[in-house]
Amino acid sequence: MTRKPQTVTLLLSVLLILSLLISACSSSSDSGGNTGSSDPAASNDGAAAPSSANGKEMELTVAFIGLGNMNEVALVQDEISKITKEKINATVKLMPIDIGAWAQQVNLLLAGNEPLDLLVTSSFLNFSSQVAKGQLLPIDELVEEHAPTIKETMELAIFHATKVGGKSYGVPSVRDTAADHGFVARKDLMDKYGLTFDNVKTYADLDPIFQKIKENEPGMYPLVQRSQTNGIAAEIVRGYIDTLGDTPGILIIENQDLKVVNLYEQQMYKDALQLARKWYEAGYIMPDAATTQESNNSLVKAGKGFSYLSNLKPGFEAQEKNVNGYEMVAARFVDPISTSDSGTGFMMSIPKNTQDPDRAAQLLNLLYTDRDIVNLIANGIEGKHYVDAGNGLIKAPEGGSNYVFNQWQVGNNALAKVWEGNAPDIWEQMKAFNKSSTFSKALGFSFDSSPVKTEVAAVANVNNQYKAGLESGTIDPAKLEEFISKLKAAGLDKILAEKQKQLDQWAKDNNVQ
């Protein structure tokens, strides 16, 4: 029968696979071991020679979050490649990864050896654990050599904010790195009832406005939440604290010190809970605020919500008008701050998978300095994905575009053309705004939670049980005591101590007093 040879080949292939597997594992651990243990300067030696000449043409893969419409990403990629081929003798492969697939795919990409030369990273997307697991390369020398001017595109403090253990692992994108905080409401209703912000200096002063809406607009809630995790009380305190990665181990910004305290034991937090509770009991907040799946925008759009609390930035009202379909007005209660994750919010990093760290750094440089490349990646191809709107502004072409990118995450956005509806000098404003902010003392510190992971897992569970309920006013603030004692039982104090320890060490390394 013809079956026999088949079994033999099958058996052979199994053996082959096994041996491949073993060799793959051992080789990856070998090569990996070198980069991990040897210092980066030494490993650069071999690569430095070809880098200056850029002898062989290569393809660099850039992964970023693919929000919006990426149908014609290939066209944009070809245009960018034309420029990069000339400048650094490399073509570019743009790899948008959907946000829904991001965590899985990036984790797996970095576990394997697939080519990946530049990667968007974020403190909200496991940056510190990627560094701790050796998945990203330190980039200080690379940036110094190939991209010395990047640091001039942003606040120096932000540029240095990506350091872990004294080494940088990413370059922040140029965007609104600072945030001020306040209140956003529908302008038409404010006008209709003659409401103004004249006597409104702080959150507690909003009462009369809510009352007016409650009395006159049945079926509408005066105050809605942005999401389950952005509870009313959390929004109120956010402008005053640096969360150092996660609550409740925080710094109080105005103290300008490096003392980690428990947010939930601060008077400020207790007051915020009381205020939220008061509003909740007065019927200003939805009864199911703690579990609703509706966002503030859809609630406002549907005429079910009047206002919300939020972090703000220059041009925020214009942005919200687009989303809500109503003209919005904002009251700003807290001056802009820059906190520990202002820099690490969105960065570009060079992963360990890169085929050539030098070439990757050169491309990184172009993303911050080359106006054409930035414009291509941010807005697409002129005439196809956007058209001139006069006044130096641009707008979407008739019939929409098949390339819509999300500007904030990659490169120097200030170089990209500005969209209609924004102030033409929006980036000047943004720069001044960023500069004017109060900088947290801990700017640039990232907390590595792996030494206390058992406690972090337990605390996450307790948090989930109480936080949304308390901060939306749904649960009586009297439960705060119970919440805190459960957190302590789950090992909160150990996390706080670890955070303080890491912060002290960080301050020592970076000469922060």
């Binding site: 594992c25 984790n107 576990a111 939805m286 799946q293 360990k352 792996s450 049980q465 459960k486 090992g491």
Partner: protein, 310 residues
Amino acid sequence: MAQTGWTPFFKKLRRYRALFLMMVPGIVYLVINNYLPMFGVVIAFKDINYAKGILGSDWVGFKNFEYLFKTADAYIITRNTILYNGSFIILNTVTAIAIAILLNEVRNKLSARFYQSVILLPFLISMVIVGYLVLSMLSAESGYLNLNLLPLLGIEPISWYFEPKYWPYILTIVQLWKSAGYLCVIFLAAIIGIDHEYYEAATIDGATKWQQIRAITVPLIAPTITIMTLLAIGRIFYSDFGLFYQVPLNSGPLQPVTDVIDTYVYRGLMTLGDIGMSSAAGLYQSLVGFILVLLSNFIVSRRNKENALF
């Protein structure tokens, strides 16, 4: 089987070589898809650093397991997991067998096909969507129960997502609704496979329908019942994540009755992203299931060798 030495054994292998050949593709598949990746079990005992590679990372002993046992929640999540899954096994099996037997009794072929299709429908809808459908029933303001049903009965509206006491029932009902159809189809296949002569003989002997079900149907599908139950026991520490996370909308106050091992692990990993800890949880769940299955399989094989899994 090898009691008389090796020669007869090899002879036997020759006699059965065709059967062994048939198994080759399947076995090769299982080796590649299931056995090769099992080297990954070591991850549960390591502090993974990709710069060092999976095998080269540092050993950390049982540190990755600690969060499953050391905290105050360990008891609650273990209790919830076992109680829910235990009752699901019993309820699902009984309901699915009952429906399957009934379905087999429908004489009109067209209706039978229609019923069977419809019963399988809930299984096709993803848990996320089921979560939204449940919300449309239970929502505090716009849900059916609060808006239409409870006023009819003169009951005050209930904040369903803040009242833990109702949720063991809600989850059980949703679960049964969603998965009974699937199980039912499996049992139906077994029932259809039963030789009709048994029933004809029984009818001639004057057995009632109920007697036939007890004396013929159930005993003859017992192997399928056993196997389904054993497999469910093997997975008793795993829960349907969507059911326990999406359906209660991850509501905090409900957590004491909706938290199971999988949701707990998920919450921890959302903040940590540590594959060592997820491997540890998986290994723990598998190991408990494995021991329970070995035990129940042993009991089954004492009673009836043929019904045992192996």
